[in-house]
């Protein structure tokens, strides 16, 4: 992205490049300022500002009681957050890395996800669990998992993941405002992605559960979320040379799943590829492909394809480039969408 010379900028603009990390930090700060019930807790979230600096400055501004360095025990962090929420607080928990969230699974699955249901609505738990996830940053093992399928398979949780700087702010604010627990997955390789964005006029995101069409096209739909959305946008740009106009749907919230937007897009294009980093077998793409097939069967020109991470433990840093779905792999999948068999004369197909 090229920056316009300063002289050409309108004098009134306050938009300037911000990173996703800065937008997330700003969302936490604004949420804490807006509601004294919002408490941040986790490992190294205090003086250090978190290993990714997402909580930078919060302890200095709001004090140790509002942004708290906890002992190093994820079940303890989430378990105490449950108790805090029971007493009327609105805890935002940071799990340091995707794979470090696993010790907290029992608390998440047996209590956080179920408390509203167990108590017939008497005691919902407004907890946000922030989890940096995904690969592509050269992390050693246990630092690059895409764990969203586990969370998606757990009724009672919302699962949210932004792909843009503006969404990082808006979706995190909406997650903290939600009376239901949210697993907020932060694509760590997008932490340093930049966009012109100003917190003074954040774009409203509305209630959780709405996907966004990031690019319109008539040939096929790429369905994606989080770290794979920029890959899909790049692939869509490259696909123009091949004569394909690809639509890119950014799911934004995996739960609730926006069937409406996805279905409308695929019915329009007749072809779909689901793209994500997580492993393919029993992964999010399996659910998405099944839903699309069930709802769009008579509109489909080809089977719904998936471009996902391989069904392997996350590879070491020097090999991860072979594992992560890239532009070429997405385009290869698009090329396999049975274009030769398209006798329908559907407008917009190549």
């Amino acid at each position: 992205m090229t920056t316009a010379p300063a002289a050409e900028k309108p004098a009134t603009t306050t938009r300037k490049p911000a990173t996703m990390a800065q937008a997330l930090n700003r969302a936490l700060r604004d949420a804490m300022a807006a509601d004294p019930a919002v408490h941040v807790l986790g490992e190294d979230v205090g003086a250090l500002g978190g290993v990714f600096r997402i909580t930078d400055g919060l302890t200095a501004e709001f004090g140790d009681d509002r942004c708290t360095d906890t002992p190093l025990a994820e079940a303890g962090i989430l378990g105490t957050a449950v108790g805090m929420a029971m007493y009327g607080l609105r805890p935002v928990v940071e799990m340091q890395f995707d794979a470090f969230a696993y010790p907290a699974f029992e608390q998440l699955l047996s209590h956080v996800a179920k408390m509203r249901n167990r108590t017939r609505g008497a005691m919902p738990l407004p907890i946000t669990v922030r989890v940096p996830y995904g690969g592509g940053i050269g992390g050693v093992e246990h630092h690059s998992d895409s764990s969203e399928a586990y969370y998606m398979a757990t009724p009672g949780l919302h699962v949210v993941t932004p792909s843009t700087v503006a969404d990082a702010y808006g979706l995190l604010r909406a997650s903290i405002d939600s009376d239901d627990p949210v697993v907020f997955l932060e694509p760590k390789r997008l932490y340093w992605s930049k966009a012109d964005w100003t917190p003074e006029s954040p774009e409203p995101v509305g209630p959780l559960g709405r996907a966004a069409v990031r690019r319109t096209g008539r040939s096929a739909t790429l369905i994606s979320y989080g770290p794979s959305v920029p890959v899909c946008l790049e692939a869509a740009e490259a696909a123009r040379e091949e004569g394909w106009e690809l639509e890119v749907v950014d799911l934004r919230t995996l739960v609730p799943f926006d069937d409406e937007t996805v279905t409308a897009s695929v019915r329009r294009t007749g072809r779909a590829v689901v793209v994500h980093e997580a492993t393919g077998f029993a992964g999010p793409g399996a659910e998405i492909a099944a839903r699309v097939t069930e709802r769009c069967f008579h509109h489909l020109e080809a089977p719904v394809l998936r471009v996902t991470g391989f069904d392997i433990p996350y590879p070491p840093p020097m090999l991860e480039k072979h594992h992560l779905p890239g532009v070429d792999r997405v385009l290869d999948a698009v090329a396999r969408l049975q274009w030769e068999a398209d006798f329908t004369g559907r407008e917009g197909a190549r």
């Binding site: 025990a73 079940a75 009327g88 029992e106 608390q107 108590t119 017939r120 009376d179 239901d180």
Partner: protein, 393 residues
């Protein structure tokens, strides 16, 4: 001069602060013997009115246990983990707290919830099977019964911590069994409580067994109360069948927590007189003789003897307590014999604040199934009436 000699004679620098000795652990250690009141000189200082109240609650608690067990045999409860023999711990835990305090029971602690004032039918909802929790936790400040072991302990710590942050002098009492002390959440809860100096009391009922596994296979610790020391939490060991002792120790711990003194770990040594649940067979892992030894230490008999000897309890008091317990049991029996009204559509009601589109679709599916089933039933009834002239509706 060799390098070694040089090193040996050079003065070492002052050790960094982290090397210096830490807090003296001695004050945190539990006594060697469990604390007792009944049958000891300490009994003279006990408040007779309190003991009489506790006696009535114990008698009622025992009757509650036998009635609930009977209800499993009649198919009115899906399962009941009995606290027979442990009533002293249950009753003391239920009665020691102030109204604003919170109780965090495990699945075996419905009696503690009842002793705190919860309606027995509501307390038994989970075990009856018509829903998971039968009460609003905030109404009685009783957390939902926790089936996963020890997971409710960090909840108690978080709640107590939140209350302290808000400036409320609320104490949380969390209950767990001997087996639960092996779970990671037990240790994490104690650690968080100590670091945050949270106003929490942990009550471990050491009833000898985790289903079938005896304590010797559970831990090599000198006692379960010793497990507090590693976290900087004082451990107290108490005779769990001596209700006066349990009440005293818990009361001290609650006062200490309320005054800002931080958490206490209490181990109450007791015995699970019944099997783990009605679905368990205790004869496979323990001898009847062992049970008989403990029967001689029955918590109700222990208190009754002490009160009678001190002249605080007569036959008429005992009869009155039993009568009140029978009345409670009859009421419980009658209410539990009514079929609970369940509403299938409730399945989708409290998953999220608002139903997702997927849940709306699934709710429509179930609604259609229910309507179809009702229609079939009506048709069959009509046919039956037409054929036989009988109307069984």
């Amino acid at each position: 001069m060799t390098v070694l000699q040089q090193t040996a004679t050079s003065p070492r620098p002052v050790p960094p602060p982290a090397w210096r000795p830490r807090t003296d652990p001695a004050p945190l250690l539990p006594d060697r013997e469990p604390f007792r009141v009944l049958g000891t000189p300490a009994a003279r200082d006990a408040d007779p009115e309190l003991l009489k109240r506790l006696y009535a609650a114990l008698v009622r608690g025992r009757r509650y246990n036998t009635q609930a067990t009977a209800l499993t045999r009649q198919g009115r409860l899906a399962v009941y983990p009995s606290s027979t023999g442990q009533e002293a711990c249950e009753v003391a835990a239920g009665q020691v707290l102030a109204e604003r305090d919170w109780l965090f029971p495990s699945y075996r602690d419905t009696l503690a919830a009842v002793a705190r004032g919860l309606d027995p039918v509501q307390a038994l909802t989970l075990l009856r099977g018509d829903w998971h929790t039968g009460y609003d936790p905030r109404e009685h400040r009783v957390a939902p019964l926790s089936t996963p072991l020890a997971t409710q302990l960090p909840h108690a710590v978080g709640l107590a911590h939140a209350a302290r942050l808000k400036g409320d002098d609320v104490v949380a009492l969390a209950m767990v069994g001997d087996g639960g002390t092996s779970e990671g959440d037990f240790h994490e809860a104690l650690n968080f409580a100590a670091v945050w100096r949270a106003p929490v009391v942990f009550l471990v009922q050491n009833n000898g067994f985790a289903i079938s596994v005896p304590l010797a296979k559970q831990t090599a610790a000198p006692s379960l109360a010793h497990k507090g020391v590693g976290y900087g939490i004082p451990g107290r060991l108490v005779d769990g069948n001596d209700v006066a002792a349990v009440h005293t120790v818990l009361d001290e711990a609650v006062r200490r927590a309320r005054a800002g003194g931080g958490p206490t770990l209490v181990e109450a040594v007791t015995y699970r007189m019944e099997a783990h649940t009605n679905a368990d067979d205790a004869t496979r892992y323990r001898e009847a003789e062992e049970v008989e030894v403990w029967r001689a230490h029955d918590p109700i008999a222990l208190l009754e003897r002490a009160l009678r000897e001190a002249g605080h309890l007569g036959d008429e008091d005992v009869a009155a307590a039993r009568e009140a317990a029978e009345e409670m049991a009859a009421g419980l029996r009658a209410r539990m014999n009514e079929d609970p009204v369940t509403e299938p559509m409730d399945l989708f009601e409290h998953v999220y604040a608002r139903r997702t589109s997927q849940l709306r679709e699934q709710a429509e599916q179930l609604r259609a199934e229910l309507d179809a089933a009702e229609e079939t039933e009506q048709t069959e009834q009509t046919q039956h009436t037409e054929q036989t002239g009988e109307d069984h509706r």
